[in-house]
């Protein structure tokens, strides 16, 4: 989780990722940010995040991202 927060802040400084729960819905994270984040996450955790995984449910909060990462890690 720590790592995830680190990646998030590295891509989008200034956002409070610990409390935000509408990162996609409120347009805080944009497509370019998502791509960078996904790239880092894939690299860091050795998972494959595809286009189909890019949903609001999966990226609206740091926690949701955490869950996604875990799910994909299990599938590997």
């Amino acid at each position: 989780m720590e790592k995830i927060l680190e990646i998030l802040e590295g891509c989008c400084p200034g956002v409070d990722f610990e409390t935000e729960t509408a990162l996609i819905d409120n347009g805080i994270l944009e497509s370019l940010d998502i791509v960078m984040i996904v790239g880092e996450l894939s690299d860091e955790f050795g998972i494959e995040i595809t286009v189909d995984d890019l949903t609001a449910e999966n990226f609206n909060s740091a926690e949701a991202i955490f869950n996604l990462v875990n799910k994909l890690k299990e599938e590997e």
Partner: protein, 515 residues
């Protein structure tokens, strides 16, 4: 049948009457008949092209949506893998064929001229293809459908006529928006009940769209057209004004047309995707592309940007970059490349011609630079005092973005690359007018200036309401009946006397109608 004329309104009236008179189950069929009639009135040949694309993508989608046959005891993972390979084998050629139709019809001539210029003589004869109405939109729409069915997002539509309705639903044929199957089809097939609120919203939206186009866009068109055709003798200042007013004209033309057609669609209870969200209030170029021609932007994001940015090949590029750069910069490389590719595509999409490609490059480059600049900008923003800096930063953002957009229009509305550069050159060198007889007053007499000022004032007001989240139609409908009657009467008097009954008003076809 031109969407600008009174016949279109008659067509809507007749279609709506049949629609609501028909039993709910076959209402979709009424829509199909109306759409086919509308499209065929634009040309039988064009209709055949459309039919071919619809049939082709229908069959391909059935193949793509087929459930994989499972052999006994087969491992689900291998089934998945096999299925994926099968789908790729069908999807890739299907998409290539679908886009090739667009490529040949729209860019065939350009390709031939370029080759001939390179060789130095007319080696290949110049082909003359017709451009079916809305081809730049429906090819994208059907391609998205193919990709979605391949992914299993939703099952493919089995009824060929119902699918045809999705492809040729008439309000979207003139200039989009590019609708998604999961959002549009349900509404098309369900058969809406007669809800007077839909009629009301639809009519108001149509009135707004008609006025935007006729009162602003068509009023500016002669001036803009003159600047762009006589750019060699117009002063630098006038050229700049021409490009800036072209931005206004294009917005009122395109969004006005969208308002008219979305309003028309709303009459049948069918909501299409939104295409504009107060684009000239954008604070950055990235923001602009989320507010301008939204359905195209969304298409590019979902079907071009994400797939290439998250592809394995690009992951390899990022890895390579990380070895040679700081990690902070390295992770931005592939998004930049992907952005550049997307905007190159947007430029190409505008139409054949090097100036359109230049338009794409202009936007792509600035978007990428914006991405690289982002962390620097964030650091600066952190340093500045939050509250006092907010408004000036906002204004700076809006001005900066609009300047970039205006410069872009030097390219997208020129007929050649040389023209665009000449116009830019003349603007930045403050070139004087080469035609002593030319005056702005010829285009902007008192009546025109006053009417443009009033129209722009209203536009800004309504846009500001929308930006604040207030629905102007809703708030209008809450006003007292005599206020509404007065406003409606004024609008309809202008529309009847100034537009539809007036033989002096010759409507210009929509800019994106011929793209």
């Amino acid at each position: 049948m031109s969407v600008n004329g009174a016949y279109f309104l008659l067509f809507l009236l007749i279609s709506a009457v049949f629609y609501y008179a028909a039993p709910k189950k076959i209402r979709w069929f009424v829509l199909l008949c109306a759409s086919v009639t509308f499209y065929l009135l634009n040309g039988i040949k064009a209709g055949l092209y459309l039919l071919a694309t619809a049939l082709f993508t229908y069959l391909a989608s059935l193949l793509l949506g087929k459930k994989p046959s499972v052999a006994d005891g087969e491992d689900p993972a291998s089934v998945k893998k096999r299925d994926k390979r099968r789908k790729r084998a069908i999807l890739a050629p299907a998409l290539i064929i679908n886009f090739s139709v667009l490529g040949v019809l729209k860019y065939g001539g350009f390709f031939v001229t370029t080759v001939n210029t390179l060789i130095g003589r007319t080696a290949i004869p110049l082909p003359s293809f017709i451009l079916p109405l809305g081809i730049s939109f429906y090819i994208f729409q059907t391609s998205a459908y193919l990709i979605d069915t391949a992914k299993g997002k939703y099952p493919p539509e089995k009824n060929p006529l119902k699918y045809l309705l999705f492809v040729c639903w008439f309000p979207q044929m003139v200039q989009g928006p590019i609708n998604r199957f999961d959002l549009l089809s349900g509404q098309l097939y369900a058969g809406s009940p007669l809800d007077w609120e839909n009629i009301r919203t639809g009519l108001l939206r149509m009135i707004f769209g008609i006025l935007k186009k006729a009162a602003v866009a068509d009023a500016l068109a002669p001036f803009v057209a003159d600047v762009y055709s006589n750019y060699q003798s117009r002063s630098g200042g006038v050229i700049l004004l021409g490009a800036a007013l072209y931005c206004l004209q294009l917005y009122c033309d395109f969004s006005g047309g969208i308002d008219l057609l979305c309003g028309a669609s709303q009459l049948f209870g069918i909501k299409m995707s939104e295409n504009f969200r107060q684009p000239y209030f954008s604070t950055s170029l990235a923001d602009f592309w989320r507010r301008w021609h939204i359905s195209l932007g969304e298409w590019m994001k979902d079907y071009l940007f994400y797939p290439i940015a998250l592809s394995k090949r690009f992951a390899k590029i990022t890895k390579f970059a990380k070895k040679h750069m700081s990690p902070g910069s390295a992770k931005r490389v592939t998004p930049c490349i992907a952005t550049f590719i997307v905007f190159l595509a947007v430029g190409i999409w505008q139409g054949p011609g090097w100036q359109n490609i230049a338009y794409g490059i202009w936007n792509g480059t600035l978007m990428s630079l914006g991405l690289i600049w982002a962390p620097v900008g964030a650091r600066i923003r952190k340093r500045l005092n939050g509250r006092t800096a907010a408004v000036p930063l906002l204004i700076w953002g809006i001005i900066r973005t609009n300047v970039i957009v205006v410069i872009g229009r030097y390219f997208s509305n020129s007929s050649s690359l040389t023209q665009a550069f000449t116009m830019l050159g003349r603007t930045f060198s403050f070139a004087p007018s080469g035609d002593p007889k030319y005056t702005l007053a010829a285009y902007f007499d008192t009546f025109m200036t006053v009417r443009l000022a009033v129209a722009c004032g209203l536009l800004i007001f309504i846009s500001a309401l929308k930006e604040k989240g207030i629905d102007p139609i809703e708030s209008f409908c809450r006003k007292k009946w005599y206020v509404q009657f007065a406003v409606l009467s004024v609008c309809l008097v202008i529309i009847v006397i100034g537009i539809y009954a007036n033989s002096n008003y010759v409507p210009i076809s929509y800019v994106y109608e011929n793209v």
